[in-house]
């Protein structure tokens, strides 16, 4: 071994060991009250708790459940309710929304929550120096203006109907401007909000612990407890592996865990746990096409494929039955979903009809090898999807069988999400298997308005205006009507073949009480308590 390489290696090692600072845990100077602790599992350490700088799942979970309160929430009645905002008005031209804020609310560092704090948050999002991943969600937002200390106006370049959905996500929650200015780049390690819990300790890679905010006042109408949280501490434990998390649930080291179809049977029937199942899914699993590439440019061909898909079998195989077969191009948990539309315009499983349609389109098996041909071209196509999830593989396998059953050979190509998603833009794409989660009907516009989120949907003089109107119609009932129209048009064209909407399932310790959700699936943390 050449001495020089050894020398460099030693130098590097020594430098590394000498230069490294062990990641100091963050410990805030707040008192730890007596009482119960709720321990929740997250998959990875949040990289930051500054909701302007990240949209990662673990960060959003922690931020949303503890300190970041928003202007509005969407209740189980599917209507928008005031939270930190008391009321609001929409201007005649639909381009301005003015909020009247509640008074007397303070951040946990004593700073007042007011119009300045609201403006401060959105200025940070819009400031390109912050490279905020949230900024793209706010395309129509031009600026936020302070009218008076408790009145703030949002000015948009065009009416923004998706506003109510975005406003209730955790990244629309507010941070104390004093704290942000004090900590600068380090604010993400020392967040301060108005919520029922405040940061106590953050051990990087291990856990984030919050304690009760003793001055908290709950202003949400759907909350049961109007005062400080009943829990003393809210703790997030980082457990990357599902298997390890299930073990920790069984030993009681965590109190709550999300379940999937593999882990649910392990706790079902166990009196130590209650299972909550939310069937109002906002996630849709579906087949997408490159609608600009033959034969997928023909709606009849896409429809034939729609009849070939055995959804019920896929639900059983990929989700263990914990999912609903869907015939609409919209998830059932979204306002605007109408199952009747799916029943009328959708494609229930009918392989005979699929075969008939394909034959009518000129795809016939002339050489008796089980695969159809047309104009010398074999019915052999590629479907792309992403790795890392059992439900994807099981769905793909069933689809292969379904397609073979009607005379189409399906080749599968999987890559991990990042590569897969970027690769969808390629013109070589034929079909892909996709799952999308979003809380508002404008998901249809985002995905299907030409040219489509990956560039494969042709212009459509009838569909595009409807999808555009969904984004700019502020009237609640009108918007629902547009959602219905969009679903009908999308199904008539079979732009996608919807498959299923999987359920959100939680296991919680049986003695936990008042663990309840709003329409968007947000838990109200101040209500939770342990029955003795």
């Amino acid at each position: 071994m050449k001495p020089i390489s050894v020398f460099l290696a030693v130098v590097l090692l020594v430098a590394a060991l000498a230069a490294c600072k062990p990641a100091a845990p963050v410990v805030e100077d707040v008192p730890v009250p007596e009482g119960d602790t709720l321990t929740l599992r997250i998959n990875e350490d949040p990289e930051t708790l500054d909701n302007v700088r990240t949209t990662s799942g673990s960060a959003a979970t922690v931020i949303g459940l503890t300190f970041a309160e928003r202007l509005i929430y969407i209740g189980t009645d599917n209507a928008v309710h005031g939270w930190l905002a008391e009321s609001w008005t929409v201007s005649d031209d639909q381009r301005e929304v003015t909020f009247k804020l509640r008074q007397g609310i303070k951040f946990t560092d004593g700073t007042d929550f007011n119009a300045d704090a609201v403006k401060f948050h959105f200025d940070r999002i819009l400031d390109s120096k912050n490279a905020s991943p949230i900024k793209a969600y706010w395309k129509p937002l031009k600026e936020v203006v302070v009218i008076d200390p408790y009145t703030v106006k949002f000015v948009f370049t065009s009416p923004f109907a998706g506003l109510w959905n975005i406003l209730n996500y955790s990244y629309s929650g507010f941070n104390s401007p004093t704290a942000v200015q004090k900590w600068g780049d380090q604010y993400g390690r020392h967040p301060i909000g108005t919520g029922p819990f405040m940061l106590k300790e953050w051990i990087p890679g291990s856990s984030v612990t919050f304690v009760r905010n003793p001055n908290y006042v709950q202003v949400r109408e759907d909350a049961i407890n109007k005062g400080p949280a009943l829990l003393a501490q809210f703790r997030f434990l980082v457990i990357p592996e599902d298997g390890t998390a299930m073990a920790a649930l069984k030993t009681g080291e965590i109190d709550v865990s999300i379940l999937n179809s593999d882990t649910l049977p392990q706790v079902q029937g166990n009196p130590a746990f209650s299972i909550t199942i939310d069937k109002n899914s906002t996630s849709l699993h579906f087949i997408e096409f490159n609608c600009k590439k033959a034969p997928f440019d023909d709606p009849k061909f896409r429809t034939a494929i729609g009849y070939a898909v055995d959804r019920d079998a896929i639900v059983q195989s990929s989700r263990g039955g914990y999912s609903t077969s869907i015939y609409n191009p919209l998830a059932p948990g979204l306002i605007g979903y109408d199952a009747a539309i799916g029943e009328q315009y959708g494609t229930p499983y009918n392989p005979e009809k699929a075969r008939q349609m394909l034959t009518d389109l000129g795809w016939v098996d002339t050489d008796n090898d089980g695969i159809r041909e047309k104009d010398g071209k074999k019915a052999e196509f590629e479907m792309r999807s992403y790795t890392g999830y059992t439900y994807v593989i099981r769905t793909l396998e069933l689809l292969q069988q379904n397609f073979l059953d009607v005379g189409i050979k399906l080749n599968i190509k999987q890559s991990d999400w990042g590569v897969f998603y970027l690769g969808l833009k390629l013109n070589s794409l034929e079909m892909d298997l996709m799952r999308w989660t979003w809380g508002d009907m404008d998901v249809m516009t985002v995905l299907f308005r030409s040219p489509g989120h990956r560039g494969h949907i042709p212009e459509d003089a009838e569909l595009d205006p409807v999808l555009d109107a969904i984004e700019t119609t502020m009237d609640y009932n009108q918007r629902i009507e547009l959602a219905h129209q969009a679903q009908v048009l999308l199904l008539q064209r079979m732009i996608i073949v919807p498959i299923q909407a999987d359920w959100t399932m939680f296991a919680i310790k049986a003695n936990i009480q008042d663990f309840h959700f709003d329409h968007t699936g947000n838990i109200i943390p101040g209500d939770i308590w342990f029955k003795k």
Binding site: M1, S5, V6, L8, A9, V10, L12, L13, A15, A16, L17, A19, C20, K21, P22, A23, E44, E47, T48, T55, S128, K129, A131, S132, P133, K135, A136, Y137, K139, D185, G205, S206, L237, V238, I239, P240, E241, G243, T244, A247, A248, K250, T251, E253, I254, D416, W417, G418, V419, Y421, L422, W438, V446, L447, H453
Partner: protein
């Protein structure tokens, strides 16, 4: 080398940071800012220049994901991985060498067959599976240890036992065959004939000579140890560079990944050097070429 491999991969890390989260153009402004900050918009040669000059200044760069210094992110985790590696090595050596000596000494007895069967399991069982089994047994069934234990001895016991047991399997086998060979030698017969205490014969004369291949195997297994640590650290939530490495790859955080590869390679080089030096002490006939 590390740098060239990274440059050859066609994935766009910055694009991927926002991919799938943003439904319209991937926040082109955000991406552009990050690209400029990390010199990603420069030609590869320029990037390499920055990279090398930074290393010589002790700067491994900044994590794309968290913006913290790579040195800080990796540093304490590296120490944790070394603790785990050391613990696993101790368990592996103690257990493996003991099993090997016993097997060799009581060759073909029940003890021999038993220990070799156990070692067969150690060789065949995948580390991941074994890890979950350990958790189910010791944490869920017996409740002797918590599932999530943090950094203390409670946290290191199971992962070290996991890796150590697997390591001991190969060490046991090599020790056994090496001991058998040595015990058969003339000088051992001589020592026994001289009336030397049996313990002295085995441990002083036989073992010392048998150790050379064992040390070789240990040196080779260091690589496996570091690699296995990647899996085990994730299963047990042990905060080492393996746990970080998996996440860094998923997040396409290539500055962290580069840093981990560099540190791992450096470690491997240094450990092999130590092994080479050890040879000299075990067998004076081996002289290091200077």
């Amino acid at each position: 080398m590390t740098f060239l491999v990274k440059a050859a991969i066609p994935s766009d890390a910055v694009g991927m940071m926002f991919a799938g989260q943003l439904t319209e153009t991937e926040s082109a402004e955000a991406a552009a800012i990050i690209r400029a900050k990390f010199h990603l918009d420069q030609p590869p040669l320029v990037q390499f220049y920055y990279y090398v000059s930074d290393i010589l200044h002790g700067d491994l760069g900044v994590s794309i994901r968290t913006r913290a210094r790579v040195i800080d992110e990796i540093g304490y985790r590296y120490i944790n991985t070394m603790k785990l590696a050391f613990g696993s090595l101790m368990i592996g050596i103690l257990l493996g060498v003991s099993m090997g000596i016993i097997s060799a000494y009581y060759k073909d007895s029940f003890l021999d067959i038993a220990t070799m069967t156990v070692s067969l399991f150690g060789l065949s069982l995948p580390a991941f599976f074994f890890g979950i089994l350990l958790i189910l047994l010791f944490c869920v069934q017996l409740r002797w240890l918590p599932v999530i234990a943090g950094g203390g001895w409670k946290g290191i016991v199971l992962p070290a036992a996991n890796l150590g047991l697997i390591l001991s399997a190969s060490i046991a086998r090599i020790t056994r065959s090496s001991m058998l060979e040595v015990l058969d030698q003339d000088y051992i017969r001589t020592a026994r004939a001289k009336g030397l205490n049996e313990r002295l014969v085995v441990f002083k004369h036989a073992l010392k000579n048998a150790l050379l291949p064992v040390v070789t195997i240990i040196g080779l297994q260091i690589g496996n140890l570091l690699g296995g640590a990647f899996i085990i650290e994730n299963v047990f939530g042990w905060h080492g560079i393996g746990e970080l490495g998996v996440k860094a790859i998923q997040w396409r955080d290539f500055t962290i990944t580069q840093g981990i590869i560099l540190i791992s390679a450096a470690t491997y080089v240094v450990i092999n050097l130590i092994v080479d030096i050890l040879y000299q002490f075990i067998d004076p006939r081996v002289k290091l070429a200077k």
